[in-house]
């Protein structure tokens, strides 16, 4: 019977069903807190627990889903390309903002992690949390971070930023849509971008561009990680 619950067919179907339910929940409640990933993970966790299935076995069985993470990252290049004109018009603020954002994101994690005395693999795991999931997990793996921590950090950061964005925009009196979009994308990547898109077209586009740009800068900055952590 356990072969049934660890078969790719079961696990992938379960994943799809849980994710779709998660999307429905978010659509019905309209809250950024109802992140489909969180809902899906909870549902799947419950089913795995109820059937006595190993999380590891589930993970192995979903190889076909995880395969698409790499291509899904590659298509971010298309998103950047589509916004190339907008980026070129204000290339200095855009590139400068994203660079500072990437620096702050990694820098603040490194400093705080040291202050808390976190183990290296936890610190490295959290370092790329501002970046989109695919790049973050790949970076974390390469530099010896604990990937599940990275996933946790990325989801938490995304939801945090998405929920806090409108408030922060008011607090900081951000008037320019490009400024708003870049700030959102740099700090809370894809989840934040869904909020940015609701705020406006330029905000959404810039947020998307920031994901790619901050991603690239973070990868470059991460090359220094072995020397600081």
């Amino acid at each position: 019977m356990s072969e049934f619950f660890t078969s790719p067919l079961f696990c992938i179907t379960l994943s799809l069903a849980a994710y779709c339910i998660g999307c429905r929940v978010r659509a019905k409640t309209g809250s950024a807190l109802a992140n489909p990933l969180i809902v899906a993970a909870v549902l799947i966790g419950a089913v795995l627990f109820a059937t006595g299935t190993d999380v590891e076995a589930y993970y192995e069985a979903t190889d076909m889903i995880r395969f698409w993470i790499m291509p899904a990252t590659a298509v971010l290049g298309v998103a950047i390309y589509k916004n190339l004109t907008l980026i070129r018009k204000q290339w200095l603020p855009v590139l400068g903002g994203c660079l500072v954002g990437a620096l702050t994101a990694i820098g603040s994690v490194v400093v705080l992690a040291k202050a808390f005395g976190l183990e290296r693999e936890l610190a490295v795991g959290l370092a790329p949390k501002s970046v989109t999931m695919a790049i973050a997990t790949s970076l974390s793996e390469q530099h010896g971070g604990l990937v599940p921590i990275t996933v946790f950090g990325v989801v938490l950061t995304g939801v945090l930023g998405a929920v806090a964005a409108p408030l922060l925009i008011r607090l900081l009196r951000i008037k320019d849509p490009t400024e708003a979009g870049l700030a959102i994308g740099a700090s809370s990547h894809a989840v934040g971008t869904s909020t940015a898109v609701q705020l406006g077209e330029i905000e959404g586009a810039m947020s998307g561009a920031a994901i790619g740009l901050v991603g690239i800068f973070t990868v470059l900055l991460a090359l220094a990680l072995p020397y600081v952590l």
Partner: protein, 123 residues
């Protein structure tokens, strides 16, 4: 362009990314190389949007789904996460807030700078 062909092109770009990554003397995520390669191919016109648009829209719209297994995997590490929960929460909150603020102010400052320099506004 038909979807299967688009997927072939996309995976071809990914494959090239992997190849290039393995040739580099330092470790660099192959997914980022693939992303840059895609941007380059589109910007230079080697690839046109219609060659990748369909599969791109599908993957972008459903991007979160491909991370479901990774999220579930967190459950196997709940112990170590809760042991460091305070640190992790503080780091996430502070870092996200700081990143937002510094990015916004940098953009604001640089925008003022470029306007002062009298760069032509292309609006």
């Amino acid at each position: 362009m038909d979807l299967l062909a688009q997927i072939a092109i996309l995976l071809g770009v990914c494959l090239s990314g992997e190849l290039l990554a393995s040739l580099l003397p330092f470790s660099f995520p192959s997914s980022v190389i693939a992303m840059l390669l895609m941007l380059l191919l589109l910007a230079t016109g080697v690839l046109k949007l219609r060659h990748v648009e369909g599969v791109t829209n599908f993957l972008m719209q459903n991007m979160a789904f491909f991370f479901v297994p990774l999220c579930v995997n967190i459950l196997a590490y709940l112990e170590i996460i809760s042991a460091n929960m305070v640190a992790i929460l503080v780091i996430c909150f502070v870092s996200t807030f700081l990143t937002f603020v510094t990015t916004a102010f940098t953009v604001r400052g640089l925008m003022k700078l470029t306007r002062k320099k009298g760069e032509p506004d292309h609006e």
